[in-house]
């Protein structure tokens, strides 16, 4: 047996594997997010008194639902670490704290993608009017991935702060929603043409660029701040 402090990526892989294993063993986060999404569609169906939605309304319904579902995942991101001392276990190891940021953001991204694999088709079945063609769906996947990356990074930052407070759920909502508003706006605007009644419109490059810029900005910010958030 030999020991050498692991590289950041190796440590991140260890934490990510642990996160996914825990979620597989006790799938609370994914189940909560998926149930929330499907319930929200039913609520929208009755609240809007419409059988189908399209265009910007459809985009709004989809992204409000996905963003609020993401809040559930963000709120639970560090819960097992707090309840079972896992955060201290990590802090005692000779590894770069950024490994935790990488692993947690990757775990949240995986949860978002997994939920959206269910939630987006469900949206298309339950609420969406004219469904886009194959090209439209591919473009939607691009928007989803760019938005998810931003949600994952910002969500990890917020979760790391919120878990150290007593009012974890309140802090998560209060901090995450304003920070995620640019993602919500850009993703909705980018998605609206895809759900247009006249057929899938062109993807607005401007909104994709905004999403990409947002991801980059918050990734850098998270990298710079995360050590201070998790250490004493």
């Amino acid at each position: 047996m030999s020991a050498r402090p692991p590289a950041t990526l190796a440590a991140a892989r260890a934490v990510l594997a642990k996160e996914l294993r825990l979620e597989r063993r006790a799938p609370q986060t994914l189940v909560a997010m998926a149930l929330y999404s499907s319930t929200a569609y039913v609520v929208f169906h009755f609240a809007l008194a419409r059988d189908t939605v399209d265009g910007s309304l459809a985009a709004g319904v989809l992204w409000v639902t996905l963003t609020l579902a993401a809040l559930l995942g963000i709120g639970r991101l560090f819960v097992s670490d707090r309840d079972e001392g896992g955060l201290e276990g990590f802090l005692l190891a000779p590894v770069d704290r950024s490994a935790l940021l990488l692993a947690k953001a990757a775990a949240l991204l995986a949860f978002l993608v997994a939920v959206q694999l269910v939630a987006v088709p469900l949206f298309a079945i339950l609420l969406l009017g004219p469904a886009p063609g194959a090209g439209g769906w591919l473009r939607l996947v691009l928007v989803l991935l760019l938005a998810d990356a931003g949600i994952a990074v910002v969500g990890t930052l917020v979760a790391a702060i919120a878990v150290q407070t007593r009012a974890r759920d309140l802090i998560t909502s209060i901090m995450a929603l304003p920070l995620l508003l640019p993602v919500l706006i850009a993703a909705s605007r980018a998605t609206a043409p895809l759900f247009a009644e006249a057929g899938a419109g062109a993807l607005a490059g401007r909104w994709l660029a905004i999403l990409g810029l947002y991801d980059l900005l918050f990734a850098l910010l998270a990298w710079a701040l995360f050590d201070y958030l998790v250490e004493d």
Binding site: M1, V15, A26
Partner: protein
């Protein structure tokens, strides 16, 4: 030779740290290296202060512990024992003063310290939904241990948990969880052990099982908190008594009577 500990501010006693059983070298207040390149003192505290807001949990603790020795820390609840361990473990930053572990400043060189300490606090730092061996494998990866499976199997065998290695930790009794936490703390073969009441939840047989790993016979430098004056003094080389964060007692354990320790609790 008995190295001299720094003067202790609040006690009438002039403490002298005992010679280490192994590897003790001359006093080293400046952090100078011993003959083998290792610092003579495994732990050096100089006017260490840690505050939580206005309240000082540690207030001016000063001592030097030779490598291979055991510091036993006494004090009533809230005296600062756990805070001291957490500062040494780099989980808390000192507010003032310095703390050095194996010659490394915990504030500036925390990353160097972490790989060389084993910390056993009140929480086991284990995931209930992972099995015993999965928990240890996870910590082994975080410590960069290669081929850790043999080490994990050996440790589980030594604490009597080999037959439960695949079971999830939430099915364990508190004593079993504590035994597994001991395995986690020594998994990477640390030079210094920081132990907060390590025998809590252990029956006598289980305490005997973990003794070679975290007890005096482990041969490691240890900082151990205790509420048991007789047992604590017996396993310590240097005794530290804390009261409201202040150093109320610092002396070689052999020179301290259990009644002196008892006074800390009055």
């Amino acid at each position: 030779m008995a190295p001299e500990a720094p003067a202790e501010p609040s006690s009438a006693a002039t403490p002298r740290a005992p010679a280490a059983r192994r590897g003790a070298r001359s006093p080293n207040p400046t952090g100078a290296q011993g003959a083998g390149g290792e610092p003579a003192h495994a732990i050096e505290l100089d006017a260490l202060v840690r505050r939580y807001g206005e309240r000082a949990a540690l207030d001016g603790v000063t001592l030097a512990l030779p490598a291979g020795s055991t510091l036993v820390v006494f004090g009533p609840n809230g005296a600062g024992k756990s805070t001291l361990l957490r500062v040494l473990a780099t989980l808390l930053r000192p507010t003032a003063g310095t703390a050095r572990v194996l010659g490394c400043d915990v504030l500036r060189e925390g990353w160097r310290v972490r790989g060389r300490i084993g910390f056993l606090g009140h929480e086991p730092l284990l995931y209930g939904d992972l099995s015993a061996s999965e928990n240890l494998a996870y910590h082994a990866r975080l410590h960069g241990l290669r081929d850790a499976s043999a080490r994990i199997a050996e440790l589980l065998e030594r604490v009597g948990l080999a037959s439960r290695s695949a079971d999830r930790v939430h099915t364990f009794s508190r004593g079993m969880v504590q035994r597994l936490a001991v395995c986690r703390a020594v998994l990477h073969d640390p030079a210094v052990l920081l132990l907060d009441e390590p025998r809590a939840n252990l029956d006598p047989a289980a305490a005997e099982l973990v003794e070679p790993l975290v007890g005096r016979s482990s041969g490691r430098t240890r900082v151990v908190t205790s509420h048991d004056p007789v047992g604590g003094l017996a396993e310590g080389d240097l005794a530290l008594g804390l009261r409201a964060g202040r150093q109320a007692l610092l002396a070689p354990a052999a020179d301290v009577r259990p009644a002196q320790v008892g006074e800390l609790y009055r």
